[in-house]
């Protein structure tokens, strides 16, 4: 069984982003794997360790800059990496179409991916991909139990929902699914000899989707820091005024 794990190269979650001339500054800013995708990859690696799956392919769409994230994925345990090379920012529909093409080319049985990327916070690609493939989907997974049908527990408003899906399928993961491992030095070295293939975007014959055009990016209105209350009795009064 072959699993595809899309990994997005994003500004590191610890970085406070900067905005200049209507755009988010990327130059000289630390980037890393989207944390949700790292959890998806970790889950794939665990499934492989337990022999539920046999092969993991990591894939990233973007410019040359995304390579470190693919190398990171190989160091963690992906068997091969695919770099879909483009300098444009694709729409989520186009990204899903690229993944759809790879799914059939590579005979993928399961796509495991993050529920959202922490840059655009869109939370769409997995669901769109599942629709294009006409596959079942289980989003926001916090527990995955493989079997004849796969039982997936999902984090939803109001609690935890469990559904069962038949593979092939798309599963998107939430933060509590697992805690990703660190790449060991020997594995980082070994990763260098693992296959990493680059495919130019024009091989996909996409119809460029321009439904969403970004006009500008601005800072959100800033909250003013308020008052520090020194006396605990004053604090209690303030709380009571506001919480009556």
């Amino acid at each position: 069984m072959h699993v595809l794990v899309p990994v997005k190269h994003v500004i590191d979650y610890n970085v406070q982003i900067q905005i200049k001339s209507g755009q988010v500054v990327h130059d000289q800013v630390k980037h890393s794997i989207n944390p949700f995708d790292e959890i998806a990859l970790e889950e794939a690696i665990r499934l492989k360790e337990k022999s539920f799956i046999s092969k993991i392919t990591a894939i990233s769409i973007g410019p040359e800059d995304v390579k470190p994230t693919l190398r990171h994925a190989l160091a963690l345990g992906a068997d091969q990496a695919l770099h879909i090379h483009t300098d444009e920012t694709l729409s989520t529909l186009n990204r899903a179409e690229v993944l759809q093409a790879i799914v059939s080319k590579e005979n993928i049985d399961l796509v495991l991916m993050g529920k959202q990327a922490i840059d655009d916070d869109a939370n769409q690609t997995g669901q769109i991909l599942a629709a294009l493939l006409q596959w079942p989907q289980a989003t926001f997974a916090s527990e995955i139990k493989p079997g004849d049908t796969w039982e997936v527990t999902r984090e939803v408003d109001g609690g935890l929902q469990t559904i069962a899906i038949t593979l092939p399928a798309v599963i998107t993961v939430d933060l509590r699914l697992n805690e990703p491992r660190f790449a060991s030095l020997p594995n980082i070295m070994k990763a260098k000899s693992k296959p990493c293939q680059t495919i130019p975007i024009n091989e996909f014959n996409l119809t460029e989707d321009q439904a969403i055009e970004i006009l500008e990016v601005t800072e959100p209105p800033k909250r003013q820091a308020g008052t520090m209350v020194k006396e605990i009795d004053d604090l209690i009064k303030i709380i009571q005024e506001h919480c009556a």
């Binding site: 997995g126 999902r154 408003d157 038949t166 933060l175 520090m228 605990i232 506001h242």
Partner: protein, 313 residues
């Protein structure tokens, strides 16, 4: 602009977020249609009749539709959506699951988490956990949009409703998804996203037992309970309480938080609250940068004193 609002419901009761969605729809057109999908819709129908600006409510009712499974719901919605210019849903985990699947079936990129409607094709949405706001032009034959409910006031009730109801016989697709169960985080307290007051606790609360103290003052205030991801991960409270980038987005009148440092991912979920009151023992905790009132000290001391003074008053 022919506009369709997709209503959500739980336990045969209309989700209060539907009223926020109708308010958003009103910014695009004078009236809208509403789509209601489920297995038992009569009570919800009555509730919808109290909301203004609805022309037709389309009813898709079947015992096979009792659970909101994306693989089942999406083709039904996609089929109906073809007759509309704009399709609106309120951002919930259910919407996040279903709407992009509808979009995939219609081969249209959806626009999720809209916080401002400037005109028919210009919208604002947060990115980077709300640390930046994107202004976009969105042009599509059928615009598929989810709105952030806290950014749109719920529309008021009306007693002059012109709503009419129309049943649609659905073709229910065969799917490879089956329902297993739902472990509900049951609570008598107000729903987080609709609450006027939220009392929230973080890792600083220290244990599940200690968290009961937070719960008891929340109950004295009639407040909802929130938590940081660290508190959820540590097992103090269920996942449903999490506020933040990957949890609930809230904007109550008062957000009172204890032992939450204020990581950007947490702030993403609560910084639109009207008044923020924060108690943390670390004077450098980033939460104080957004708090209207901050207090540096031991949270348990504050809780005990608060409890005593509320009990006597």
């Amino acid at each position: 602009m022919k506009t369709l609002v997709i209503a959500e419901h739980q336990h045969d009761v209309l989700s209060p977020l539907t009223a926020n969605c109708i308010e958003a729809a009103n910014k695009l057109s004078n009236s809208c249609d509403v789509l209601l999908i489920g297995s038992k819709l009569d009570t919800i129908q009555k509730e919808l009749s109290t909301l203004p600006s609805i022309d037709t409510c389309l009813l898709v009712e079947s015992p096979k539709l009792s659970h909101p499974i994306a693989e089942t719901y999406a083709p039904i919605i996609a089929d109906i959506a073809k007759s509309y210019d704009v399709i609106l849903m309120s951002n919930s985990t259910q919407t996040k699951d279903i709407l992009p699947r509808v979009a995939g079936l219609m081969k249209i990129t959806p626009l999720t988490d809209v916080i401002e409607i400037i005109d028919n094709e210009t919208f604002k949405r947060p990115i980077y956990a709300g640390n930046a706001i994107q202004k976009v032009r969105y042009q599509a034959q059928h615009k598929l949009i989810s709105i952030r409910p806290t950014a749109f006031k719920p529309t008021g009730e009306t007693n002059i409703s012109n709503i009419s109801f129309k049943s649609i016989q659905p073709t229910i697709p065969q799917t490879k998804t089956s329902w297993v169960n739902m472990a509900e985080a049951t609570s008598e307290r107000p729903e987080l996203t609709a609450a006027k007051i939220i009392v929230s606790g973080g890792r600083g609360v220290g244990s599940k037992d200690n968290f009961k103290k937070i719960e008891s003052i929340a109950d004295l205030m009639g407040a909802a309970i929130g938590a940081s991801r660290a508190a959820v991960d540590a097992g103090y409270v269920p996942n449903d309480y999490q506020v933040g980038q990957t949890g609930k987005i809230v904007a109550p009148d008062t957000y009172l938080c204890f032992g939450i440092s204020g990581a950007i991912q947490h702030l993403a979920g609560m910084k639109d609250s009207q008044t923020i009151i924060a108690i943390d023992k670390d004077p450098d905790a980033p939460i104080f940068k957004v708090a209207d009132y901050g207090y540096v000290g031991d949270l348990f001391e504050v809780i005990d004193l608060l409890q005593n003074s509320m009990a006597t008053s």
